[in-house]
Structure formats: structure tokens, C-alpha cells
Symmetry: C2
Subunit: 367 residues, 2 copies
């Protein structure tokens, strides 16, 4: 069996080893830092009595699980706290494949590469449904691709890498397609706090036993390294996924869960608004430079990423390295995200140096 | 597919809901607390810059991984830091089943229940090899049970629940049996700091591509809730297990890894010695009471647990509840650990109230 080991690590290592100064736009690590309450939560945790250092409940620390249930307006029993959205997606896909007869997984192309790697790890077969030019996934194309062989439809909105935000009609259709084919929608919504259009619709709002919503605090609280995520489960899969979680990880890490609980409780809306505003500004700056270059690009409706295409410089791994060495800008090659955008680059706008990157790209491409 | 959901949670919930005061001897949560350096590590982490809150390397925070490699005298590449020994065992078993032709897993009986549940989760078949009366696993019986169908031999030393410590001869034989049958030994050594005999031998000291050593800091640093463990991998499985880890969890939780690194660096031997001494005393106290009752028991050579059998009160789940309700002592029913000791109880000596428990058991059994 061969897995996809994501290219991220390879590109990050190359960029880190580069001799010249490089603006890092490779991976989606927020640069703005967590809210103060998160740091305070860790410090508070550190002085707990010995029992506080022992196993949290397998499904997650009670207050955190309750807080998530309240915010999402679901029963606490439907929430499982996981080691990031990574584990939430892993568990959802594994249990979905177990509980449905087919072994096909429908994925959008471009695709977040972990979905494809995980599909193969789990012994299933990916089928790619091309997104349109704006990055939207047309439900009619998904409907055509779906069959009794389909066990899972794994989607991501706001989307990485395209920046597309799926609206209520799209989500409703996707869940209906899953129901019609006895399949499961896994809706990964980790960028839900970064919707610039107001049209984002969580799959949670579509009442169905055929959808799982996964999420994490990695992006919304700027803490990809704490590994706190969650899934909201249909009743029929609660027992299976809880057992699988227990036999995979036993439980998640308690200091991280405690800190996230404190951050949720004590962080007001301005933190989230400020980060959205910051990203809007960066998107503006970066796309203006792309306009100046005459590059093709997709302006994101949500999330952190801009896909761009430069004439004569297709987004191969080789050209990604050239961009690092000669322009001092590190992006990701489009080929990491499937076939559809293999000649594009993805740039993550999670650096204060978006300005620099824009200037450097202009000089490199026009020069 | 049906999994074993460990009974621990059920018994813990029952004990917590009990009306009377109960001495909790259910699960292996150390009561003595982590070393100061661990708490300091968390506080130090909390004031890091935003980049410190982002993904650690998937295989583990560099300093921690290096520290483990140094302590175990292996190349850093062979170490993977995991979400506790739970994930380390999960990854090892999954990759072992993938890379060997059989689908049989040899387990000792009594068995740590997660091994059996995980075997079934992974679609494999457990075969139980009875331990002897002292809890030792006779390599001759393992050799008889092994065949080309065998993919894995999963062992635990010092053992939970028997307290047996496997010596060099046993470990050497187990690895040789794995080699002869193209199988893999997964040696879970989480209680390695609690060897009271001096005869413990890590499978690491037997040079072979047919063994994985798993471990964690849950017990040695008193932090079951931080979820920091590791595996030391044979070269042939490094790539497979690292990829599987990445596609399951992406990475482990960084504050926990940082705190463990600080604790390893700055905690001296006296911390570990004190905890061993404490447990020796508790074993003495508890087994004296069992002698007074006339109960049969195994005196542990390592670890935290005492298995005991009372005439007329077999270790069923029902009697476990009776012990909670009428004696105020919560143990685990032997049936949770397989067939071999289904009429025994397991008591975890991780409470300052071992004295109380002993007195209560004497009064209940003799009364």
C-alpha cells in the first residue's frame, strides 16, 4: 500500500534551508497568536492538583465538550473532542467506510492532500470531482459521480486551497446526495471563522443522519500545535466513533483542552473580527500585486489562501523551489492539491510580510 | 464489527456515582503528581511567541525526540513521539498487520483490554496465550501458539494486570519467535520505571527488525492526561508508521511535549526513586491485609497493580459493584482482562488510602 505523504513538509524544509531570506507562505499557521485567555488557561492548568494531570474523559474534558455543544446547539452526547480536525476527519472517514457498503470516497479537485492520503490509508478509492474555475463544487457533478459504491463525500468549506465558501443550497444538495446513495458527508469546517461573504453554511444546519461536521480551534484561535478539534456526530455513529477514538488515542491532551475551554469562555468577538479584518487587508494587498503582474488568481471568499497562476511558470515542485531561491517567496505547488490546479501555486496569507512577498513576486515575474 | 469498549469507564462512573465514600483503585492514574519541572515547562510554554503555538514536527518536538533518542541510545530517526502509548500501540499494531501476511495477534491472558479491542478494531483475530500462575508468559507456550498466521505478538512488561516483569531470556525468546514466524513483537513498556526486581529487560536491548518498543511518560511522570508517548521503530517500519501517524493525528500536542521535555531535562533520579519507594510500601501494606484475609494474590514484581481472589466473591462486574457499595473499595473485575483471571479483582495502588482500602476489605471479607 502506498500513501501520500503530504508535500508540505518537503517544501517547508526546503524553504527553511534556503540561503536567502524567504517569506514563508507555505503552511496555514496563523501568525497573529492565540488570545490571552488561552495562555492564561495553560498557566492556570499548570498549578492544578495531581488529579488534573490525569486522563480527561475520552470524549473530551467535560466543560469544553459542554461549551462546544452549547455553541453549536447540539446535545453534548453528539460532540467528541479530538486531537485536532485531523483525528476528527480520520475517525469520521474510518467509521463512515465501515458503516456503508461502498469503498469509494468522493473528493473535490483541488483537494486538501490529507483527504486523499487518508482515503488510501483506509484502503478506499478516491474519486475526484473537479471544482469549477472559482473553486465551487457543483452538486450536479457530485450527483453524477455518486453511486452505490460511494461511502463518503468529504468536503471542506471555506475551502483549502480554493477559498470557495459553500452556501446553503450546495450543502443541502451534498447531504441529499449522501442520503440518496447511503453515504456520509464529512464536512470539514476549520475555516468557518474566516468567511468574508456571509454565505457560509455549516452542514450542521442540515438535519440528517448522513453528515458529520468536523472542526478545530487550530485556525480560529491560532493554535495549530495544540491539537484540539471536534466532530459533531449523527446518533447512529456516536458509539462507533467514540470507541474508535478510545482505541486510537485513548483521549486528547488535557492542558490543551483546558486552555481552549478558557479561551472560548473569555475571548470576545473582537479577537475573531480583528483576525478576519487582518486577512481581508492581506488579500487586498496580495491580489493587487497579482493584478499588477497580470497573473490569474482566485480571490478567496473564505480562509487563508490565494491560488495564483503565472504565465510560463507553472506551479510545479521545481518552480516552487525556484520561487524560493530566486524570488524569496515560498508557496505550495498546485500539484500537491490534485490535477485541477497543477499549474497554479497556493500562497498562505499568514505572514506579516504579505507586502514583501507581493513586491518580490512582481519583481520576479515581471523582471 | 464489534469492539470491546473497555470496562474501565463503566466502573469509574459507577464508583463516582456511589453514595458512600469509596477508595478509588480502578484505573492507573498516579496520585503523586508530576515533577515541578513539568509544571514549569507548561508555564514557560504559555509565554512563547505565536510560532510556538503552531504545529510541532509530526514525529515530535525536536528537543524531546532528541532527548528520548539519547536516553534510549538510538538514532533520532527511529523515534516517533505519539499521543501516549495508546497511539504508539495503535500505529504499531496497524502497521504490523499491514506488513506481515497473517492476521492473528498473540496476546497474553490476562490481557490489557485495549490490546484485544484494538485487535478487533483492526480486523485481526486475537489468540490468547495463558500466563502462568505468577503472571509470567512462558515463551514455549507462545512458540506453540505462533504460526505463519501470526502477524503480531503484543506484550506488556512490567505487566498490567499481573505485575510480572519479563527478564532477558523471555524477551530474547519472544523476539526470536517473531523472527521465526515473520511477525512483529510490540513491547509496551510503560511501567518500566516501576521494576522492583531489577530483572526487567527492554525489548530494545534485543537488536532486531522484528520488535517495536512503545512507552509513555504517563506513569513515570504521573501525567496520564498529557498524552505524550513514543515508539522506537525498526528501520523497515519507520516510513509506514510516520505516514500513518501523520494521517491519523497530524502531530501530537505541543505544550504537553514541551513540558515533558523540560521535565526529563530537569528532574533528577530522586523523583523516580521516591515513587518506586512509595509503591513498594503500598504493596507491602496491601498484601499484608490480603494475607490477613487469607486471600490469594500475586505480589507484583513491577507496576501498580495487585490481582487478588477472595473465596466466595469472584471478580465479576456485579461483585465489583458490591465491593463499591458495601466495602467502599473500587477495583476492576478480573473478567475485564480475559478468561484467565475472571474470578479475580485488580486493585490499582495509586491512592494514598491503600491503608483504608486494606482495612475495609478485611472487614468486608472477614465480616
Amino acid at each position: 500500500m502506498e500513501y501520500d505523504r503530504p508535500l508540505f513538509y518537503h517544501v517547508m524544509e526546503y524553504a527553511a534551508a534556503a540561503e536567502r531570506d524567504t517569506v514563508d507562505m507555505v503552511s496555514g499557521n496563523p501568525d497573529w497568536g492565540p488570545p490571552d485567555a488561552l495562555r492564561e488557561g495553560l498557566i492556570e492548568y499548570a498549578s492544578g492538583d495531581p488529579s488534573q494531570f490525569q486522563y480527561p474523559p475520552s470524549a473530551g474534558l467535560s466543560q469544553l465538550r459542554q461549551e462546544i455543544a452549547d455553541r453549536r446547539a447540539v446535545e453534548t452526547e453528539r460532540v467528541i473532542v479530538t486531537n485536532g480536525a485531523g483525528e476528527a476527519n480520520h475517525l469520521s472517514m474510518a467509521s463512515g467506510l465501515e458503516h456503508h457498503s461502498g469503498d469509494e470516497v468522493l473528493l473535490a479537485d483541488p483537494v486538501y492532500p490529507y483527504y486523499a492520503g487518508r482515503t488510501r490509508l483506509l484502503g478506499a478509492t478516491p474519486t475526484f470531482v473537479p471544482a469549477d474555475r472559482t473553486g465551487q463544487l457543483d452538486p450536479d457533478r457530485v450527483r453524477e459521480a455518486a453511486s452505490e459504491e460511494t461511502a463518503l463525500i468529504v468536503v471542506n468549506s471555506p475551502n483549502n486551497p480554493t477559498g470557495a465558501v459553500y452556501d446553503r443550497d450546495t450543502m443541502t444538495s451534498l447531504v441529499a446526495i449522501a442520503e440518496a446513495n447511503d453515504a456520509l458527508v464529512v464536512s470539514d469546517e476549520v475555516y468557518d471563522h474566516f468567511d468574508y461573504t456571509g454565505t457560509f453554511e455549516s452542514a450542521l444546519s442540515i438535519d440528517s443522519e448522513h453528515r458529520i461536521v468536523t472542526n478545530s480551534f487550530s485556525k480560529s484561535l491560532g493554535i495549530t500545535g495544540l491539537r484540539v478539534g471536534y466532530a459533531i456526530l449523527p446518533e447512529r455513529l456516536v458509539e462507533s466513533i467514540r470507541t474508535r477514538h478510545m482505541l486510537t488515542n485513548v483521549a486528547g491532551s488535557r492542558p490543551a483542552q483546558h486552555a481552549v475551554y478558557r479561551a472560548l469562555r473569555d475571548t470576545d468577538r473582537s479577537y475573531y473580527e480583528r483576525n478576519r479584518e487582518r486577512l481581508r487587508d492581506r488579500i487586498e494587498t496580495f491580489t493587487e500585486a497579482l493584478d499588477a503582474i497580470g497573473a490569474e488568481y482566485t480571490r478567496p471568499d473564505g480562509g487563508f489562501y490565494v491560488l495564483a497562476r503565472f504565465d510560463g511558470v507553472p506551479g510545479t515542485l521545481e518552480n516552487t523551489k525556484q520561487l524560493i531561491d530566486e524570488a524569496g517567496v515560498a508557496g505550495m505547488p498546485g500539484e500537491a492539491f490534485g490535477q485541477a490546479r497543477s499549474d497554479w501555486f497556493r500562497f498562505a496569507l499568514v505572514t506579516q510580510r504579505v507586502d514583501d512577498a507581493a513586491t518580490r513576486l512582481e519583481a520576479f515575474i515581471s523582471g
